[in-house]
Structure formats: structure tokens, C-alpha cells
Amino acid sequence: MSYKQAHDEMGTPIKDVTISSKAPTSFLGDKHSEFIAAYGSKKDYKYEYAMTEYLRMSGIYWGLTAMDLLGKLHNMDKDKVVQFVKDCQHDCGGISASNGHDPHMLYTLSAVQILTLYNKVDAINVNKVVDYIKGLQQEDGSFTGDKWGEVDTRFSFVAVACLSLLGRLDEIDVDKAMEFVLKCMNYDGGFGCLPGSESHSGQIYCCVGMLSIIGRLHHINADLLGWWLCERQLPSGGLNGRPEKLPDVCYSWWVLASLKIIGRIHWIDKKKLETFILACQDDETGGFSDRPGDVVDPFHTLFGIAGLSLLGSFPDKIKTVNPVFCMPEETLERIRLHPQILS
């Protein structure tokens, strides 16, 4: 009985996908830039547009970063984007996902990332952004996502990422911020959303990234965490975000980027992961999906391209990505930002 048959017939299969022999094996860069460029102008789908408007700012960041990594940022309408970001800044300094939505830390970071790509940070009131973020730090060092008070380690990352892009990291209590993040570390070396919460690759990426930006990666047990992260690789080559979940291109990014930051990227099978990521491309429409054969979207398209960049695949077609900020390395070089990376 072959491995595959056993897999299918027995009661306890490994939760994974099978990659079809027809799946793409080469990188379809031109199709991806066409897909992203067309996505922004697809306004006829009014319902879809309204359904996703609550994350519009992040959507633009995903699309533009993907385009920049492909060397096609110039194909996008810079002035329109910058004006949109400007319009989304509120009196409190925070930036919302779109017009008519409320300011939130998540979209404030996306906005700052977009403006950094375009070297246009001065389009918004930077001092007000800094005040907004400062105002969201709590006594225990944690950050809330907005004025309504939800606390999550994601917001700790977002706060320091945003401030460091603006060159204003010294405005918050960095030691306290770190203390809170370390309280969310678990016995397996991973991190959760709050103290006591389960380890989760997305949260791990945020906590590792946060510690990298503030230069305190020595608090991480890199072997223990690296071990857990490597165990996310499944026989298909794809990575999942937590035990017994299916592999997913976006988790492939979060796990891979965390491994890169803690200097353990060589612990996984890079070739198999590359095969998995390439299989998630749609060879007709362009773009990447979460798993082979699913519907593509800009979110997975960015993380597919960024993942391949971290793996060092297709260096002539994809720029080098920074694992902490998920932005082109050259952009961070321009603003002289060098987050800590363990070797």
C-alpha cells in the first residue's frame, strides 16, 4: 500500500492537500501583476467592494507591496492612492480602512507602509499618528487596537512597526511593551494573542517581529520556537499555522518569516515549500490562493510572492523582501531601518 493510499483509506489521515500533477511549477510573475492591477479597478462588483471595504487600506498595501516586489509599482496610480490615505486620517491621528470607517491601528500601519513604499510619509500628519499610537499603550505595556480597548499582541507589533517606520520608536515605553509581549510566550516557545493564549503562527510572527524591531530577540528560545515552527511543514511541503490545520500560503509566509528572523529558515525543506507555493498560483487569472485550486486574492498573492522571495527563488523576477515588515528590503534600506535578524 502506498503512502497516498494509506492516507486516503485510514481513519487518521494527516490533514494536508495533494498537489495535482497539473499544478503550476513555474513562477507566473507577469500574470500576477496583471491580476493585481486589474483588481483595483474592479469597481463594478459593488457588493464585493462593499463587503471588503472594512479592510481596504490593508488591501491596497498587499497589492502595492506585491507590485513593488515584482518591480511594477509604477503601474499603479500613486497620486490617487496617496490622496485616499490622506482622506482616511482622522482628527485623532489614527487612520481608517476607508472613508466612513473608524480609525484603527491595523489600518494606520498599512497606511504608513503604503506611504513608505511611495516615499510620501509627509502626506499625512505624522505627529498626530505618533500621538494616536502613544495614546493606545496601556499601563501593562500592551496596546489596544483602537479607542474601544481590545488588547492583542498583534497591536504590539503594529505599534512598534509603525513608529519605527516613522523613526519615532522612542516615543513609547519600549521596555513595558516588551514585558507584555514576553508574558504571552508559551512553554512551546510560541506566542499567543494574550497571556495564556495558545501559540499561533500569526501571533508568533507579530511577537518575533516586535522583538526584532526593538532589538531584543535574545529573549526568544530560538531552538524551541524554531522546532515548533518547523513542525508546521506538512508532507505536501506547505506550512500550517497551528497543529492539525491545513497548509496555507499566508501561514507559509508567517512561519517562514519568523524562522528567517530567528535564523532557522534552513530547518525546513525549502524545495518542497516552493513547490507548494507555486502550486497555489492560478495559471489563467494570475494571483495566488490559500491552497492549490482555490480562488485567488491579493492577500495570498502578496504572501505567495513574499514567501518565494524569502526562499530566494526567482531572484531575477522578485525583489528581496524584509521578513519583519513584509516590504522590499531596498525600501527599508532607503530609510535606514535594519531590524534585528539572528544568524
Binding site: M1, Y3, A6, M10, T12, P13, I14, K15, K46, Y47, A50, M51, Y54, L55, S96, A97, N99, G100, H101, D102, H104, G145, W148, G149, E150, M185, N186, Y187, D188, G189, C193, L194, P195, G196, S197, E198, S199, H200, N221, A222, D223, L224, W227, C230, E231, Q233, P235, G237, R242, P243, E244, K245, G263, R264, H266, W267, I268, D269, K271, K272
Partner: protein, 414 residues
């Protein structure tokens, strides 16, 4: 314009359904691509609310545009309209955070009752059991509830103390309770646990639901030995029925760590029982990574008990530091497949003994008494038994998990 009118009518039907039946306990979409003549797409039967799929986009766009215009102050909506529109949008798209915020504003201005909003919020999980924004709003509501209860209690306390002064002319110490924290009633806490259980059963590995349960324990419940034991016994059935649910097992890990933090002497017997539970589950349901991961945790705690640090006997949530460094691995083993052998590593020549027999129970009964080295040896023995008891080709996943645990033990604890 025609679409707008249709959207408005569907919205009014939806609002009517909620007025007609205040006990709606489930919401869902009914696949139905086209409108049927003269029939409302909003169907209410036995407290179940169904929305025919053709109406979703019309309803959403109408309600969403109304709300956005209200937000930008180009349209004025009265509170009942705001409640109706936000309800429609959130049933369809609960991640729309701005719309939850609009409900928060209604709660703050006392136009929307906290209990009513908790009920509506809970309804969302029947369709979208893991929605993070829905759980975030729920936490906010619970914090408001706690604050309001606290304010009421402080007011009563202040009155009591004032009365005591008036009647006796001096302060009566015995009656003055001082400013204490309000105790959230058991029924509220129980209801939260119920909401989490429902959401966890609807969607496996539900990170938001299990994190919420932890938050409730930390922020609403009295997190004492009694509550923790009750939660431990309640979740045995849950994890035994959902053996692939790592989030459920993590919740038990959280509970066990709380026992450690309370410095309870019972920790070793809890670990002992947990190990028995795990061995039974591994035996009955071979090849579930969640159970094997849970075993790692129990081993870690147990190892920790045997090698205590000088911290007043209390368990601290410290992470074990391996003696070997990353550099050693780089030089000793080559990178790929370091942890899990992705390539076939199954020993085709080993044969099962008798997979149905409960073979581990006897060996596990006094494990926590063992010293560190014996402990590791006995775990390796357990792994070997597991590997021998099934055909590798029948249970590739059991092989994978057992090997991974063995490597983890050997790397971090030898």
C-alpha cells in the same frame, strides 16, 4: 433606485422578524438564487431565522450605505434604524468593525441594552463561529456590564455607609464593606462558557472561541481551585470528542498551569490523570497530532515539577532552555526535514501486537513519581510501544507523531 427600494423592504422584513420573535436562536442563509413570487426572503421558523441567498447583496448594500451615510452625517438615522441596519450588516459581514462600533455607541448612550446586544452577538456565532470582531465586541460588552454592575454596587455601598453614619452618628465598622470588586454572577459566566462551547463545536480549532474562554476565566470568573476543577472535568468530554482540536487541549494546558500558579498540591495527581487520559486517547485514536502535543505539555510540566527552581515552590511559566545550541544542529544534521521526516521513515518491518487492548494504563499509573532520567526513559518506552502496536502503513500519522515526540524529547531533554 429599484434595488434600493427592494433593499429597504427586505430590511424592514428582517427587523419585523426580530420584533415578532425575541428568541431567535439561529441564523443562516438558504441557498436560493432567485426571488420567488410574492414571498419575503426572510423566513422565521421555530426561532430559526433564514435569509434566502438572493437577497443578501441587496440587503447588505442598502443597510451598509445607510450606515456609511449616517457615519458621514449625510443621513440621520434614529436609534431603531441604526439597530436594524447594523443588525443586517453584521449578520452578513461580522468583520465590519466600524458597524460594531456603531452599536457600541448605542450602548454608551443607553439606546441599546447590553443584555440584548450580547444576545444578538451570540447569534452571529451560529453562522460564523470564529469571527474575531464578534468576540472582540463581546468582550467589550462584558467589560461594560462589569463596569455598570460595579457602579451600581459602589452606589449602594456609599448609601449603606451614609445611612450607618446617619443612624448611629458614627461609623459602624462591621457594616462598612469598603470598595470591593463586584462579583459577576455565575449565570453570566456560565452563559459565556456555553457560547464558547457552541462556537468550539461548530468549528474545530476555534482559536477565538477558546481564547475567549480563557479571557472569561481571567476577567469575569473567580479563578479559584473550584472553578478550574469544574472546567477541567467539563472539558474532558469536549476534548475526547474532538481529538483533533489542539485549541481545546491548549485550554486544558492553561487550566493545569493555573493549578500550578495557585500552588496547589494536587498538581502531580492532575498531571497523572492527564497522562492517563492522553494515553487512552492515543491508544483509541492513533495519529492525532493534538493529543501528542498535549503529551509534550504534560511531560514539560512534570519535568518542571521534578526540577523545581527556587521560586517559593510556585510554578513559573518559564521555557525550558535546551543545552544544545542552533549551531550544533547546523553542523551535526543537515537542515531539511530536521524535525518531521517528511520523506518516508516508517519501519516497515515492525508489526502490531494487539491494537485494541488498553495496553498503557498499567504502566502509566505511577509515572509522576519517577526521577528525570527514568521519566524520559519511560516516555521513550511508551513511544516504542506505540510504534510497535500499529502497522506503519496503516497509521502514517501515528508514526509521524510518535517519531516527532521522540526527537523532541531527545533534543530538548537529554
Amino acid at each position: 433606485m429599484a434595488d434600493d427600494e427592494r433593499g429597504r423592504r427586505i430590511l424592514s422584513d428582517l427587523s419585523l422578524a426580530f420584533t415578532r420573535d425575541p428568541s431567535i436562536d439561529e441564523v443562516g442563509f438558504i441557498p436560493c438564487p432567485e426571488a420567488l413570487q410574492n414571498r419575503s426572503p426572510i423566513i422565521l421558523q421555530e426561532h430559526k431565522l433564514g435569509l434566502e441567498s438572493w437577497c443578501i447583496s441587496l440587503l447588505y448594500q442598502y443597510a451598509y450605505n445607510e450606515l456609511l451615510q449616517a457615519r458621514e452625517k449625510t443621513v440621520r438615522l434614529v436609534p431603531s434604524d441604526l439597530i436594524g441596519c447594523t443588525r443586517a450588516v453584521l449578520i452578513i459581514n461580522p468583520e465590519c468593525y466600524t458597524v460594531w462600533n456603531m452599536r457600541k455607541e448605542l450602548v454608551c448612550s443607553h439606546k441599546l441594552d447590553i443584555a440584548a446586544d450580547l444576545k444578538f452577538n451570540g447569534l452571529i456565532f451560529t453562522r460564523q463561529p470564529k469571527s474575531p470582531e464578534t468576540f472582540a465586541h463581546r468582550k467589550w460588552l462584558l467589560v461594560q456590564l462589569r463596569q455598570r454592575l460595579q457602579e451600581t454596587k459602589d452606589m449602594i455601598d456609599a448609601k449603606d455607609s451614609a445611612r450607618n453614619h446617619d443612624e448611629n452618628g458614627r461609623h459602624v465598622v462591621g457594616n462598612h464593606r469598603g470598595k470591593e470588586d463586584v462579583v459577576i454572577s455565575d449565570s453570566i459566566v456560565e452563559n459565556e462558557f456555553k457560547v464558547c462551547t457552541l462556537a468550539a463545536e461548530h468549528y474545530s480549532n476555534n482559536y477565538s472561541a477558546w481564547s475567549h474562554r480563557i479571557w472569561v476565566l481571567q476577567n469575569l470568573a473567580v479563578c479559584d481551585g473550584r472553578t478550574i476543577s469544574s472546567e477541567l472535568s467539563k472539558t474532558v468530554t469536549l476534548v475526547s470528542m474532538h481529538i483533533s482540536d489542539h485549541s481545546g487541549f491548549h485550554y486544558r494546558q492553561f487550566l493545569i498551569q493555573q493549578i500550578g500558579k495557585l500552588n496547589q498540591r494536587g498538581l502531580d495527581s492532575i498531571l497523572q490523570q492527564e497522562l492517563l487520559l492522553i494515553s487512552d486517547l492515543i491508544d483509541n485514536y492513533p495519529g492525532h497530532e493534538s493529543i501528542w502535543y498535549h503529551r509534550r505539555f504534560v511531560f514539560h510540566m512534570w519535568h518542571h515539577l521534578q526540577t523545581p527552581k527556587q521560586t517559593n515552590g510556585k510554578y513559573e511559566n518559564s521555557v525550558h532552555t535546551p543545552k544544545q545550541t542552533g549551531d550544533d544542529i547546523k553542523s551535526t544534521r543537515q537542515a531539511a526535514c530536521l524535525v518531521f521526516d517528511i520523506t518516508d521513515n516508517q519501519e516497515e518491518d515492525s508489526f502490531p501486537t494487539n491494537p485494541c487492548e488498553k495496553k498503557f494504563r498499567a504502566d502509566e499509573s505511577c509515572k509522576v513519581q519517577l526521577g528525570v532520567q527514568e521519566m524520559i526513559a519511560s516516555e521513550i518506552e511508551f513511544i516504542e510501544k506505540c510504534l510497535k502496536s500499529v502497522y506503519p502503513s496503516d497509521y502514517p500519522s501515528q508514526y509521524r507523531c510518535a517519531h516527532a515526540y521522540k526527537k523532541w524529547l531527545q533534543f530538548f531533554y537529554k
